[in-house]
Symmetry: C2
């Protein structure tokens, strides 16, 4: 199991208590987890109930960005000043131990606490959304019809600082009790990988595939180290 | 885009407002999304802050189960009677449209609202954890060292009813504005698939791989219909 050096002191909210040896507070681990994600889950309370909503995300510098329609209940709730929690999780494998109790999973997760702020400046909003496109499909922004004023006006962009964040990472094989090691039981890891499938062209589209489509599978993320 | 027939009326909390045509309230869609997941994200408030914590999950009948250490802050908070929200999300692809605005993602998500209850009965707890193992690795429970009393006593199993749940599903290609269809832009879907990697045997283990390990990749989930 890898345990990156702690570089950033945790806050009371981000200090990992459970299996604390899997905690990581260093920036490189956090940014790698965030950048590998297309979506996050956001927990917030609207006063009467807790909600957990998945949404697309991207990073710029030391902020995580999300966007949506102005009419979204979630975006309205998130801009009301409420403290929220954003979590990103990558599941990397099932860890099969010799005892039931020591079974586990390999994962990389990041929890970010704080408040969202609205990106009100129109140019900043346009730039953010262009960076989101660049994450999804490098080079595509220059090829498509860009957003018009009506579309930009209907879209809200929010961001949250990555200042208060903590990661939890488990890698490697099973950790069995000493007395179980001799048991005649297969032990190891069953890896899970987010794979990129062959692009599916819109039947109504006659265009040749651009570079970001041709490179989709070639650029596929490598199998994470187990 | 597929839109299963609504069979179960939504509650005020589960009625999908945003892109309501992607909502699904039928049981088959819900169970398929839940059964395809190894983990869920749980949103809860501890009174001062919202938290979003990823954890392993499995289903038995009309309940979703989770487990953890008795000492877990999350499990304590979840058994305090608080209303919580559990969300499962599968990301199936990036949807590249001819305009920036119409880009989207294909996904299957389920949100479950309610309260967790503790599985206190010892036999029920053992049976639940055995079913969890069956989900992870069919047939494995009979091969491993089962939990002992100390391990079971240190473990809390919780369940939540699937009664108040809603799904949101997007499939298919981009939906462009009519006036954008003739633009010289590639349009289509870049699929994302959760793939199973080759099993990695613990170097300290000399056992031949059992059936659930041999079948891991053969049983790999098919590419979801786009």
């Amino acid at each position: 199991m890898s345990k990156p050096t702690a570089e950033q002191p945790p806050s009371p909210r981000t200090r990992v208590r459970r299996i604390a040896e899997n905690a990581a507070y260093d920036r490189a681990t956090l940014l790698a987890i965030v950048d590998a994600a297309y979506l996050c889950h956001i927990a917030f309370s609207d006063g009467s109930a807790s909600h957990c909503i998945p949404t697309a995300c991207w990073r710029e510098g030391q902020h995580l960005y999300i966007h949506g329609s102005n009419g979204s209940r979630m975006l309205k709730a998130l801009t009301s000043g409420a403290d929220i929690c954003v979590t990103i999780t990558h599941l990397d494998g099932l860890v099969l131990a010799r005892s039931a109790f020591n079974h586990s999973m390999n994962y990389r997760s990041a929890m970010i606490y704080g408040q969202f702020e609205c990106v009100d400046d129109l140019q900043a909003k346009r730039d953010s959304l262009a960076r989101f496109m660049e994450k999804l499909a490098p080079g595509r922004q220059a090829q498509i019809r860009p957003g018009n004023d009506k579309e930009f006006n209907a879209t809200t962009v929010l961001r949250i600082s990555l200042d208060e964040a903590a990661c939890k990472v488990r890698t490697g094989g099973p950790v069995d009790d000493e007395e179980d090691l001799a048991l005649p039981v297969w032990a190891g890891v069953l890896p899970l990988i987010q794979q990129r499938g062959a692009p599916i062209q819109d039947p109504a589209c006659q265009q040749a595939a651009p570079e970001h489509v041709l490179a989709w599978q070639a650029d596929s993320a490598e199998i994470p180290a187990q």
